[in-house]
């Protein structure tokens, strides 16, 4: 529309007619030629797993026996894996093919939709490559998920015939149902040479540390269990949910069931397969009554999981999804993704031989802990186990961490549920700083007299190591170096390129101390004792903002908003950076980690940078700032706090809106309100002044 109108206007100028014709031509070109292509480009690329070949496996085709002693360091060829440091590596997926034996009988069932999903997930991921030459890891398209669905020998032969097989080196074999009756091996029975197994149901003998990946079985029922979840009162304390348990387990559990239900108010329910329909996984039976599998899971606090035919099956996934806390009593089991997931947070690990004492211990677990475990289990399910795509991506992420261990995620990243009020203090070392001094950073624009007075004042502070003046005026150069006060510490003037408030919080390389004393250029009333004492307090509380001018925020019930408050009150929640000590790290965080819209707003409006800093620190640490000494006036004895002047109502309104806006951006009010300040130990004590370390403290 707009462009067409523009064309009409152009028509008035005859000279421009040709141009308009040209533009119309260009437009039609866009409509006719480019747009359809854009749409095709935007469409999901067609599935790449579609070329299908048929291979005939000769009867005497060789197999490579599995090397049970493989480790990442001797069976895996790291040199194939590129030189990237961001955790990236490439996976090649063989084209889907049909494999038949010499009599043209297929060696296994059709590719399952689950395996198809796994391959699709890889193909759609950043790890995928079509070029086997640049691949680090190879994934076969022969569906090996369920050992009951393929012939072992022929499949091993088929794998060995893969064009890049190379004794299985760097190949990843996916398997979810290992072993077949009667011995149910705990790892897929294929002969795979040096291949890695991404498998389910390993025991601690068959799992090769640092090499195999213990993954999760996919359960198609789990999603609906997870969607119907509520943490309500659950009538059954412990349920078993497997229908294929060995009789010995059933017998001993039944006896526990009888014993306990008479003596205690805790119930244990041992379910059985339904005799009328053994094949339906959605129903189970208990004492001749048929129940919905889903209802049992949703109504039990704990789900007892015992060894089935295989060590790990879907019931584990189902109970996590349903919020029924799994009690895993399977000796030697290797849990899914155990190398990154701390299952102790969501699962109770028990010994299958000590079921008789289970109830006593489990009934001691307090209610809030149960809630926590249930929620954690569901979160783990949703984050790592809930779809084949997610399972596949978790597997590849673990592989990536093995290839690039320095870019591994920490325990917290894998195991802590994101929570709005949790915090990760980047200054977590429990220490009292030994720093011998601090760097003063003064923000200045053009008040040279005031600035020089301030420099002269603070330069006498024994702990001062350096002064950095951030000269934020682009129209006027800072005074010539000969005009600056002659002081004993080094003084550095930083000429900024734009008059932005965030310049005062830039992590300048010149700041070599741990602590920064941030100052406005008109803070002229601090005494040396106050400065020294403030620094001492910071050394004792190095992860807090420690400073002199304090403010608070209060909730206004009428407007349902926060109000910024500068009156002398009994509480504080902010310490302004016009005169405050803090760790230099916060400059880094302010400049590079803080939400950019806050930084942008501050720079656009030339206000609230101090409030932003308080929000940042409190949001990161969940701690309040510390106000030192009663000092409340900073500029001159006669001056009242400028923020208290009624003339500055506009200023106050802006600050109030900052508080509300920042709270909205963080999604919570991170500021903490406290009712204390910090004074020297002997403050106001009737005591000889010469014995007091900080005397000149206390004038307002």
């Amino acid at each position: 529309m707009f462009i067409r109108l523009a064309c009409c206007r152009l028509l008035r100028h005859k000279k421009l007619i040709y141009i308009s014709i040209f533009i119309s031509f260009l437009l039609s070109f866009v409509y006719v030629v480019v747009l359809p292509h854009i749409f095709t480009l935007l469409q999901k690329p067609p599935s790449k797993i579609q070329e299908v070949y048929q291979y005939v496996i000769p009867e005497d085709s060789p197999i490579v026996p599995t090397n049970s002693r493989c480790t990442f360091y001797d069976c895996f060829n790291i040199y194939r894996c590129g030189h990237k440091f961001d955790g990236d590596f490439k996976v090649y997926v063989y084209p889907v093919a049909k494999h038949v034996d010499k009599d043209f009988i297929p060696i296994g069932g059709k590719i399952s939709k689950e395996y198809h999903s796994i391959l699709s997930a890889i193909v759609e991921s950043q790890y995928y490559t079509t070029n086997p030459e640049e691949a680090c890891v190879f994934v076969s398209s022969i569906d090996t998920l369920n050992q009951n669905r393929f012939r072992v020998k022929e499949t091993s032969q088929a794998l060995a015939l893969l064009p890049h097989w190379n004794d299985g080196q760097n190949h990843l074999i996916f398997n979810m149902v290992p072993g077949t009756a009667p011995d149910y091996k705990t790892v897929v029975d294929l002969s795979i040479g040096k291949s890695m197994v991404a498998g389910v149901g390993f025991d601690s003998w068959t799992y090769r540390s640092s090499f195999d990946i213990s993954i999760a079985i996919y359960s198609n029922l789990a999603i609906s269990l997870s969607n119907n979840y509520t943490f309500k009162y659950r009538t059954t304390f412990i349920s078993t949910i497997q229908t294929n348990l060995h009789n010995d387990f059933i017998t001993s559990l039944k006896s526990i069931e009888k014993q306990k239900s008479t003596t205690q108010n805790i119930t244990i329910r041992v379910i059985e397969p339904c005799s009328h329909n053994r094949h339906d996984r959605t129903i189970i039976c208990h004492e001749n009554t048929t129940y919905n599998y889903a209802d049992i899971l949703a109504d039990s606090v704990f789900c007892l999981i015992l060894p089935g035919p295989r060590l790990m099956d879907m019931v584990f996934i189902d109970s996590l999804a349903a919020g029924c806390i799994p009690i895993v009593a399977i000796n030697h089991v290797v849990l899914p993704f155990f190398e990154v997931i701390d299952w102790k947070r969501a699962v109770i690990m028990w010994s299958e031989t000590e079921l008789n004492t289970l109830l006593d211990v489990v009934s001691d677990i307090p209610l809030d802990r149960r809630k926590e475990m249930s929620a954690q289990g569901r979160w783990l399910y949703q984050t790592y186990l809930s779809s084949l795509k997610i399972i596949t991506m978790t597997t590849l992420k673990i592989l990536s961490q093995r290839l690039h261990p320095h870019s591994s995620d920490f325990y917290e990243n894998w195991n802590l549920r994101p929570h709005p009020v949790s915090a990760r203090n980047p200054l977590f070392l429990p220490y009292m700083s030994d720093s011998s001094g601090f760097t003063a950073i003064i923000l200045s624009y053009d008040r040279i007299d005031s600035l020089f007075t301030l420099i002269n004042l603070i330069s006498k502070a024994p702990s001062l190591q350096k002064i950095i003046v951030v000269w934020n005026n682009q129209l006027k150069s800072p005074p010539h170096f000969s005009e600056w006060p002659k002081i004993d510490v080094s003084l550095k003037v930083v000429q900024t390129t734009a008059n932005k408030l965030s310049n005062r919080f830039f992590p300048y390389r010149e700041i070599e101390t741990e602590a920064v004393l941030s100052l406005d250029d008109d803070i002229l009333m601090l005494t040396l004792d106050e400065i020294e004492f403030g620094f001492q307090v910071w050394k004792e509380f190095p992860d807090h903002i420690v400073g002199f001018p304090s403010r608070t925020h209060v909730w206004n019930n009428k407007t349902n908003t926060w109000k910024y408050e500068s009156e002398w009150k009994n509480e504080i929640s902010m310490v302004l950076t016009g005169a405050a000590f803090y760790h230099k790290y916060w400059n880094q965080a302010y400049t590079y980690i803080m939400p950019n819209n806050i930084k942008q707003w501050v720079d656009d409006h030339m206000n609230c940078e101090d409030i932003a800093m308080n929000f940042l620190v409190s949001n990161t640490t969940n701690k309040a700032p510390i106000k030192v000494t009663p000092k409340k006036k900073f500029k001159c004895p006669q001056c009242k706090n400028t923020e208290m002047l009624s003339a500055d109502q506009g200023h106050m309104a802006t600050r109030t809106s900052c508080v509300n806006m920042f709270a909205a951006i963080y999604g919570r009010m991170p500021l903490k309100t406290v009712e204390y300040r910090v004074d020297p130990v002997l403050y106001r004590d009737v005591f000889p002044t010469k014995l007091k370390r900080y005397n000149n403290v206390g004038e307002l």
């Binding site: 797993i49 579609q50 070329e51 299908v52 070949y53 291979y55 005939v56 480790t71 040199y79 049909k98 590719i111 399952s112 939709k113 689950e114 198809h116 079509t130 015939l161 064009p163 497997q242 348990l245 060995h246 015992l306 060894p307 089935g308 035919p309 701390d342 690990m349 004492t357 677990i365 809030d368 802990r369 261990p405 591994s408 920490f410 325990y411 917290e412 929570h419 009020v421 203090n425 980047p426 977590f428 070392l429 429990p430 220490y431 992590p507 070599e512 741990e514 004792e540 504080i572 790290y585 880094q588 009663p630 204390y676 300040r677 910090v678 004074d679 403050y683 005591f687 370390r693 206390g698």
Partner: protein, 687 residues
């Protein structure tokens, strides 16, 4: 479309077009097989003896490579409690873990510390029974030239190996414990702090990466050590090696040895540790080396070149938070890898080196206790702590099972992490040494009862009263008098339901404003002791000992528990975790329990206590204007001095820390109307 490149004969390959568009029509991997007909395996054998008959149980004579906790460890011995038995003490029925008193640490036959007749000695052990429930500690195994990890020179059978330099693949998973390699002079307790005393950001060191050590011209480990010199650039990366080791190094020296040896002499190992951001930790003859712990202590982030090494206690420690793994096969990528790490991450890694060093490694005691804690956590009946507790300060050794009861959030240390706060109420525990309840107590109770945060008042009475506890009404307030606690001030009383405890002597004077204000401060610092009467300690060079002082000074390091808030958890820690020798010192002197509590809390948190408000005299004044005895009793005072020094010996160091700050209400003594002040009574308290 693209065709498969293949080297196979064309006749084995037939093309077939397969319609993959309707994926939904594909079968499920769970189809086509009668799952419901399958039956699970029977339970493992009930008893330890029966489990021994299982097929994978092989001979006891060598190390039983198949051991797992479920098969080789008899956890029924640990049902009641986790007890450790050290030979040759008398027999204990309830012993869970046995430690033999034979030095198995050094099993290198070439070493002077090698004990020759261990197999004979082992046979004499009364409870050995194939090594069941035994832990064997070992630092070195194997010898020149192959340094075989398994070669201990004796058979360990079913015993758990707590062994240094193990490889991930050689460890019996969940059974053996990877152990740190430490020097012979490693202190038993006390221990040195980490070197990082100033947590500067960003880390600015002279060198990015450093290494100074031997290279082996021949034999195990020589490949890696002989190649690392390639990393040396003389600028930000200092990697210097020497060929000099053993007696016969000259026989095998190569052409680089002279150059290397000269360069090697130019750098000092200690100063490299201090002045480098990263320290290279390559394998030596064995996978582990001393320099791992040395680098950790120095806050020099270890860069590991020791493929397959199981790092110490990796079952519970997330080493990714403190070290960088490099791959021996990719030596030349090391510089690139370490340059790719952000300053923010470096900052975190370095802090974590210090935390781990001080929590688990700086004394032999901690190393051994950590080993036992790991075994303890494996037993299903004894609850385990999650990775947050293990990998954050102050760590698992001071986070006791019995209190946490599966819950970690109620410990005093983690509130900020989870955005929680301690519950907003407290229990007063008045410690009374007298039989009759005296007059000041009435006033005290009235003042306490005025606090709206008070949940309950408990009097922990020294009188025996046949161990009976019951309610009494004092000044109209119901008070629980608990007797029969053996006059133990910090007994974890079951009546305490709050996290905060206000501990009081029975003759204390405090206003309700002071109590409320102190409680408010404590809520911000729930891991510290927050209270009124402050004391200090200092080192006297002349007397060569620590002195205790109650004089007014600019600092303090002790808050007396006669009037202080602290977390209930510290009662548990005091009673169950402190060495019995410390408790004995207190019980024999009938004194110093408050000093010991301060030692404990400062030791755990590495922070000083907090003094609140101006009040100094918190006791009823006697007629002469001096506080009543025993506080002015010189003997009492001397005793406290002695305690201080005894505690330092038993802790192995002085844990107390000085603070020079006092917490006051925001408007304290400000020239505004008293009506505007929240804590008015505090204004009137004089010193």
């Amino acid at each position: 479309m693209c065709f498969l490149k293949t080297t196979r004969k064309p006749d084995t390959l037939l093309h077939l077009i397969y319609n993959a568009n309707d994926v939904e029509n594909l079968p499920s991997f769970m189809d086509d097989w009668h799952q419901s007909l399958e039956v699970g395996r029977p339970p493992a054998a009930q008893t330890y003896e029966a489990r021994q008959q299982m097929p994978y149980q092989t001979s006891h004579r060598k190390t039983n490579k198949n051991c797992r906790m479920e098969t080789c460890f008899d956890s029924s011995r640990c049902d009641k409690d986790f007890r450790v038995f050290v030979y040759p003490l008398s027999e204990l029925e309830t012993t869970c873990v046995f430690v033999i008193a034979i030095d198995t640490l050094d099993r290198d036959p070439l070493s002077p510390d090698y004990l020759r007749n261990i197999p004979v000695k082992m046979q004499r052990l009364r409870h050995w029974s194939g090594g069941r429930n035994h832990v064997i500690f070992n630092l070195y195994s194997g010898s020149w030239p192959d340094y075989n990890e398994d070669d201990l020179g004796f058979h360990t059978g079913d015993a758990i190996l707590a062994k240094a330099s193990m490889s991930v693949t050689n460890m019996r998973p969940g059974f053996d414990i990877s152990f740190p390699l430490f020097h012979k002079k490693h202190p038993e307790r006390g221990g040195e702090p980490g070197f990082v005393r100033s947590n500067t950001y960003p880390i600015t060191k002279n060198y990015k990466l450093a290494f100074k050590g031997k290279r082996y011209v021949l034999g195990s480990g020589s490949e890696t050590r002989n190649s690392i010199f390639h990393l040396h650039n003389g600028k930000d990366t200092i990697v210097v090696t020497t060929c000099k080791h053993g007696k016969n190094w000259k026989d095998a020296q190569d052409e680089r040895c002279d150059v290397d040896n000269t360069l090697y002499e130019k750098y000092d190992y200690g100063s490299l540790l201090k002045n480098s951001t990263f320290c290279l930790v390559p394998r030596g003859r064995r996978l582990g080396s001393y320099r791992f712990l040395e680098a950790l202590q120095a806050g020099c982030i270890p860069v590991l070149l020791s493929n397959n090494w199981a790092l110490p206690f990796d079952e519970v420690i997330d080493w990714n938070k403190a070290v960088i793994w490099a791959d021996e096969r990719l030596l030349f990528q090391v510089p690139e890898v370490i340059h790719s790490i952000s300053e923010t991450k470096l900052f975190a890694l370095r802090q974590q080196t210090q935390i781990l060093w001080e929590q688990y490694f700086n004394t032999i005691e901690k190393i051994v206790f950590t080993t036992f804690e790991i075994i303890k956590e494996r037993l299903p009946k004894l609850q385990s702590r999650d990775g947050i507790v293990w990998n954050t300060s102050p760590g698992a050794l001071v986070s006791q099972h019995s209190y946490t009861n599966y819950l970690n959030f109620n410990l005093p240390f983690n509130y900020h992490l989870f955005g929680k706060q301690p519950s907003p109420n407290f229990t007063v525990v008045i410690f009374s040494q007298h039989n009759n309840l005296n007059t000041p107590l009435y006033r005290l109770v009235r003042n306490i009862a005025a606090s709206k945060y008070l949940t309950q008042i408990v009097i922990n009475s020294c009188s025996d009263n046949n161990g009976k506890s019951g309610y009494q009404t004092i000044a109209g307030i119901q008070i629980l008098v608990s007797s029969g606690n053996g006059c133990r001030r910090f007994e974890p009383l079951p009546f305490i339901k709050t996290e905060a405890v206000l501990s009081l002597d029975d003759d204390v004077i405090l206003t309700s404003d002071e109590i409320d204000f102190a409680f408010h401060v404590w809520q911000s610092f729930p891991d510290r002791i927050v209270g009124f009467p402050a004391r200090s300690h200092y080192w006297d060079n002349g007397k060569d000992s620590w002195l205790y002082t109650s004089k007014w000074t600019n600092e303090y390091s002790i808050i007396l528990t006669g009037a202080a808030f602290y977390h209930q958890y510290y009662n548990t820690l005091y009673t169950q975790w402190l060495s019995p020798l410390l408790i004995k010192t207190v019980e024999q002197s009938h004194n110093c329990e408050d000093i010991l509590m301060n030692f404990l809390v400062s030791h755990v948190t590495r922070r000083p206590p907090i003094k609140v408000s101006q009040r100094k005299h918190y006791k009823e004044q006697a007629n002469n204007g001096m506080p009543k005895s025993p506080w002015n009793d010189p003997d009492h005072f001397m005793q406290r001095q002695t305690c201080l020094n005894t505690f330092v010996v038993l802790f192995g160091y002085m844990p107390l820390l000085q603070s020079s700050v006092r917490f006051d209400p925001i408007l304290f003594k400000d020239p505004v109307s008293n009506f505007r002040k929240k804590y008015k009574q505090i204004e009137l308290v004089s010193n």
